[in-house]
Symmetry: C2
Subunit: 440 residues, 2 copies
């Protein structure tokens, strides 16, 4: 497995490794052309995109994607939380191999996150459709098939506009009740249902039945790049604890009130942000923490804040260390309450242990990468993905391609075209096996 | 002068001290009745109000106040930034003694801040109007008058919806260009002009010409209460430095990005909030600091913040100490840039030295309070007031009444009715002198 301590290894040249797929040159070109088109939806003008869930840019892209799928003969349908499916029927009535990711983005985000995985899934399915309809040896694809193929564009994976993230796959897999998801409101007070209803993307059913799943995504870190590895075989998700924290103080005049009378919620929250960050110094390379969202009330220049709400995450590649970090955080909450004269309420909104993908899927992905002559290694994912939900429901294969400099959720996000098409080839090979049920 | 070190002195009973004004019992009752009515505009249901500038609650109250003034024979007019004036003409063509404060509020604020001063000004003017129109000895008020009286309700003193604060008095006194003020937008993108235009409160002219000014306000601290003093004779404003700070980092995935790669703007901002607060420990009782407003971008649960904007104030009763605090802050900015790998841009948006009111006004206020048998002492104001602008233009008297527990910008703000009417009596006495030009 690649970890932070062996970055010097495996200096394989990823450009060379993708040369093996030159036979699929046309397919690669077609993929890269479509990917360029996708980068235009919600383009920020600085190389990035802003396509928050059910925004006009997200909607436009979905309409375009529907056309792309229908143009290749796929049936497009939407489920009751707005997940978009492109169906290729090989075995009438059989369940589906679900492949895809999400096309929504963070604000001022990169164009690879999620979008790459959806388009790679579509192009993998296009190849399989071509193979199935062609004569000769490749006709065997259809003949040996046990399952159909569904390309999926999950709704609202990012959770920037509507919390929580991974909303579409959470409803699909039953971990989030539909009613709760539809009722979530953005900061302008618009609910998911109100945002989706006028788009025509709100269907009735529960979507196609899945038998197996695969997703490909950019790494969003720099382990693959540092190791010179093209394909990441994702074995597990880091353990995580996610808190919603409310710091409560008291409104006061920010000038006149004597300092010792103040119960400043923003001071308390800031002590917490600083602690959370500096906690990672005690677990170098093992613990990631973040406060990405923080809202101040009343947020006026001359009022001491009475309430600050923030989201605090701890992620760790070791469950025992995570427990240790949580215990330190616990102790610090009490210290901050005393120091800033505030009350802190915290709710553990999500938490999970080290969460493995099915080893048979990792083995399958490895064998496909090896057949294609692509450098590969096992890797864990720090971020959650829709496949994190799916693997609880059905055996799921998760693949990574490198992110240059590990930059993600940033307009500067970049993956080499050679790596994009290498990933497409591996995903296509994996899906060829999955539709035959080859996952021992 | 009252300061934090002599709180044990002067335990005069404020209830007893206001008994001397029992002759004005009817006027007091009428004042308190009107003040109760005002507390209903934008009432929060928890004893407070929410009447941000040009909100519906602010507009309603202005319409009510216009009716109150007109009912007493005053002419009501509005200037080009929406300041509301109630004019009482005693000497045709003469300039005005401007008395008043502001009726807008912070969100979930108290009902005394500003509103008390406007209504006290109105009732002081009502008494003077009655005296002027009455026969007998009190007719002398009009006969000796050199100036007219204008009650003023300044637009947007609080600055919570539209920054900067003290907007109306800043435009009136020429320190803020009209065009800049009208163009300021709230967070919903509505400009001051767009908010004011439909209300009918946007006039054409520059308002009545002022010769002298007086304002009464709640203290918003607890020095008067601690000393048992009813009337504060405000001698000066604390020195202040107000910064607009932008902390710039880089968007990144809040889970996947390795910690040492992060340029977390919120971590940098939090270090600054903590430093600013803890800086006050080095200057006990002498330095007040605050960050009341802080905005995070993109403020998404799974994105490291690329930009945080905040407003940071330092206020001090000693100019040399303020310079020392600013130097420490300077040094800390650089340390935070290095520690959090961010860039910090800061703009000194406002700054002033210890800013005295005219001593003759302090003497006049003292003599009136003494005549009424009300305990009084000199005091500085930490907060800015509209009179802070006015005293640069014309000689200005500033008065305080006590705030229970020093609570302000909070629904729990409270001043004893006895103190409210004592302040009204002193203000009335001061205005009687001012209209005759008695300010030696």
């Amino acid at each position: 497995m690649i970890d932070k301590h062996d970055r010097a290894t495996a200096q394989a040249d990823s450009a060379a490794s993708t040369a093996t797929s030159s036979a699929s040159g046309d397919a690669h070109e077609s993929f890269l052309r479509d990917f360029d088109t996708m980068g235009g939806f919600g383009a920020t003008g600085h190389g990035g995109v802003d396509r928050q869930a059910a925004s006009e840019a997200d909607n436009e892209q979905r309409r375009w994607f529907q056309g792309l799928l229908e143009g290749r003969g796929f049936t497009v349908e939407y489920d009751r939380i707005g997940n978009q499916f492109g169906l290729l029927e090989l075995v009438p009535g059989a369940p589906y191999v679900l492949i895809g990711s999400h096309m929504d983005s963070q604000p001022t985000a990169g164009k690879y996150d999620g979008a790459y995985g959806v388009l790679a899934a579509a192009h993998a399915a296009f190849r399989i459709a071509d193979e199935a309809s062609a004569g000769g040896a490749s006709a065997g694809v259809a003949e040996g098939a046990k399952y159909n193929v569904a390309v999926v564009n999950w709704f609202n994976e990012e959770g920037s506009r509507f919390v929580p993230s991974m909303m579409g796959s959470s409803v699909y897999t039953g971990v989030l009740p539909l009613e709760d998801a539809l009722a979530v409101r953005d900061k302008a007070g618009i609910s998911v249902e109100e945002a989706l209803r006028p788009t025509g993307f709100l269907g009735e059913g529960a979507g196609p039945v899945a038998a197996l799943c695969a997703e490909i995504h950019i790494e969003q870190g720099r382990l693959l790049e540092n190791a010179g590895t093209t394909i990441g075989l994702v074995t597990a998700t880091w353990a995580a604890s996610k808190y919603r924290v409310v710091v409560r103080g008291e409104q006061a005049h920010s000038g006149a009130t004597v300092m010792e009378d103040r119960k400043d919620a923003l001071y308390g929250a800031s002590l917490l942000v600083v602690f959370a960050r500096e906690l990672t110094d005690r677990f170098p390379g093992k613990l990631h923490t973040a406060v990405g969202q923080l809202d101040v009330y009343p947020n006026s220049p001359v009022v001491v804040a009475s309430e600050v709400t923030l989201l605090l995450d701890l992620r760790c590649d070791d469950e025992a260390l995570l427990a240790e970090a949580n215990a330190l955080l616990d102790a610090r909450f009490a210290e901050i309450e005393a120091k800033a004269d505030v009350e802190i309420e915290r709710t553990l909104s999500h938490s999970w242990d080290i969460n493995p993908y099915q080893p048979a899927g990792v083995d399958l992905a490895r064998s496909v990468a090896e057949e294609l002559g692509l450098s590969n290694d096992e890797i864990m994912t720090v971020a959650g993905h829709d496949s994190t939900n799916m693997k609880e429901l059905v055996p799921t294969v998760m693949l990574f391609v490198p992110s240059v400099d590990g930059i993600s959720h940033n307009e500067g996000e970049y993956t080499e075209p050679g790596d994009l098409v290498a990933g497409l080839d591996v995903l296509t090979g994996v899906v060829r096996h999955l539709i035959r049920g080859n996952l021992s």
